[in-house]
């Protein structure tokens, strides 16, 4: 592959993951909710859209007996909606828990969802990959297809960025910020804080579901192993490094993390330690995450005041 093709591929992955980071930034950056189920919302979006747009398997080894051929935008919409519903459902049960307990419960829910996807082969093809997922408008765009898809993802990222930044600055967003800093205050002012948390969870999950759909229609084939907890942790690293509370930071952080993870594609395979590079770069991400939290707790572009609020320094 030429360098240009690789660059487009990496940029498209950055775009899809940026959507995940935007969703997580609504949860953690704006509302202070520890969502560790993000990979599951991504999976729900991907599988929903894939199943709705890809007919059932045929032949002797057919596994999946459910499928349809709806237009792709229907799949994407349904994926985002279902992911949002799952987000709200998980939040309804657990959003009252204290921060780190919420993290454990959401992580468990995500693994439960992955277990179902893995085991229900009639619906999802199970451990085998769900193959032959259609790409939108393939063969009918006047430009190179991978350029078209990148521009499509870029457009969705730009739209989501503007929308979520606007939401964060709106009266709705200000209540979310108040919930994040000290829930007692908006509660005392008569705001139904649980309801606001549910909406935050739903919106963030919806954008993760949309990202899942865009992912599925880009990569042709999806498997449950694409949605491991380590994906959630990677997005967390991106949001923290970029700076929690800043949507631009979420995108920059994602570009940074995906850049580290994908840079090895550009490295020739005959350099020393080439076979260990995939793991070395994950060590680097781990070290960076710790270093950023230590030296620059508000991240590259984060809001310094956000970090100080709630801490003892901020109380002065």
């Amino acid at each position: 592959m030429a360098v240009g093709d690789l660059a487009l591929l990496v940029a498209t992955i950055m775009g899809v993951y940026s959507l995940l980071a935007i969703g997580l930034n609504m949860h953690w950056g704006d509302t202070g909710l520890l969502n560790f189920a993000h990979a599951a919302f991504f999976a729900i979006g991907a599988y929903t859209s894939a199943i709705l747009t890809t007919p059932p398997e045929t032949g002797l080894l057919a596994n999946r007996t459910v499928g349809a051929s709806y237009p792709i935008f229907v799949g994407l919409l349904a994926g985002a909606t279902l992911a949002a519903a799952a987000g709200v459902l998980i939040a309804v049960t657990s959003v009252r828990l204290e921060g780190d307990y919420l993290a454990m419960v959401t992580l468990s829910f995500a693994e439960l969802i992955r277990l179902v996807i893995h085991n229900e082969g009639w619906l999802t093809s199970g451990a085998q990959s769900l193959k032959g997922i259609e790409r939108p408008l393939e063969g009918s765009v006047p430009i190179r297809y991978d350029l078209f898809y990148f521009l499509l993802v870029l457009g969705v990222v730009a739209g989501s960025y503007l929308l979520f930044r606007r939401l964060a600055g709106s009266p709705f967003g200000r209540v979310l910020h108040a919930v994040r800093e000290d829930e007692e205050v908006p509660l005392a002012l008569g705001k139904d804080t649980t309801w606001f948390k549910l909406k935050s969870f739903g919106l963030g999950a919806a954008i993760a579901g949309l990202a899942g759909g865009l992912w599925a229609h880009y990569v042709y084939a999806i498997t449950p192993n694409m949605f491991l907890p380590s994906l959630t942790f990677t997005i967390w690293a991106a949001v923290i490094i970029g700076g929690a509370g800043s949507y631009l930071g979420a995108i920059v952080g994602t570009a940074f993390i995906v850049g580290i993870r994908q840079v090895t594609r550009f490295v020739p395979s005959d350099v020393p330690f080439a076979s260990d590079l995939p793991y070395i770069r994950l060590v680097v991400i781990g070290v960076l995450l710790i270093a950023v939290l230590y030296y620059r707790p508000y991240g590259l572009l984060g809001d310094e005041e956000r970090m100080l609020a709630g801490s003892e320094e901020g109380a002065d």
Partner: protein, 297 residues
């Protein structure tokens, strides 16, 4: 046999499941004991704990197969390495974040987990490994297959649990640990040097994590992500037992192991891992203070 779908067949009850449950439960109980000790004093969710287990298992593996040491010696090496290792990680990383919130520490531990797991992959590769040892025939007792490794796991677990019990009950350090776990501020006021206590907690918790990883490797395989994938039932045991409550965690560990293995009587085998997940969710949602414990926060 029209409509016969093997996916939905459940197993009939078999005493074998009880024995398997005891073996799995022993591993979870030991692992949960180490985790609850650390959790009780340090007060944050350490995602890297599973990777501590893996590190212990890999060092024992290296001593056992690469240096041909007997498995018992290798296991002791694994424990010591992880005891010191947990302390080193604390000095390098966690200590610097002591004044920060539990949430920051949770995220920091994700970074530590990334580093440890991938260092393992770089040093030992990604494939699965086994301790060296003959593959022995499994004698049958009353129709139950009992592997020698399984007997070792159950016996070693009881020894570790008993030793830790004595440590917590009979030694000054152990009593101080329990006091600090109950109420850190009160312990400090009573003159307990809590920073020194933290050192002991990492040593003891790290050693227990190491041996838990070795037992897990003895029962199944040694893989870089073995500890991480085992983490959820271990956390479930800690939560069910009440955070910081060693006896509760052990009881929770055995309960989860046995429930998980017996569950195949009522649910399809593929859903066995769901038991740990569901117990963790239900445990946190219904009684975050644990079935045996009292509220710790």
């Amino acid at each position: 046999m029209a409509g016969f779908d093997p996916q939905f067949v459940m197993a009939a009850f078999d005493p074998q499941f009880l024995w398997n449950g005891l073996v799995v439960g022993s591993i979870i109980a030991v692992a949960a004991l180490g985790l609850t000790l650390i959790f009780g004093i340090l007060n944050f969710i350490n995602i890297a704990y599973g990777d501590y287990m893996a590190v212990g298992a890999y060092f024992a593996f290296a001593a056992n197969t690469q240096y041909d040491l007997p498995i018992v010696v290798a296991a002791l090496i694994g424990m010591v390495v992880m005891a010191v290792g947990a302390l080193v990680v604390d000095k390098l990383v966690f200590e610097r974040f002591r004044s920060r919130s539990a949430i920051v520490l949770l995220v920091v531990s994700i970074g530590v987990a990334f580093v440890l797991r991938n260092l393992i992959r770089i040093v030992w590769g990604t494939g699965s490994r086994r301790f060296s040892g003959p593959i022995e025939a499994a004698p049958q007792f009353f129709g139950i297959r009992v592997l020698p490794d399984q007997v070792a796991i159950v016996v070693i677990s009881v020894a570790i649990l008993g030793g830790t019990y004595l440590l917590l009950r009979r030694t000054r350090i152990g009593i101080a640990m329990r006091a600090a776990s109950d109420d850190t501020d009160l312990a400090r006021i009573r003159g307990i040097d809590t920073e020194r206590l933290v050192t002991y907690v990492w040593l003891v918790g790290g050693a227990i994590a190491g041996i838990a990883g070795i037992l897990l490797g003895l029962d199944a395989q040694i893989r870089p992500n073995m500890g991480f994938t085992a983490l959820i039932p271990i956390f479930a045991a800690v939560i069910l037992g009440g955070i910081g409550d060693p006896i509760g965690a052990v009881a929770g560990g055995y309960a989860i192991g046995i429930t998980q293995e017996l569950s195949v009587v009522v649910i399809p085998t593929e859903y066995k891992p769901a038991i740990g997940l569901l117990l963790l969710i239900i445990g946190l949602l219904s009684k975050p203070e644990g079935i045996f414990g009292e509220a710790t926060r």
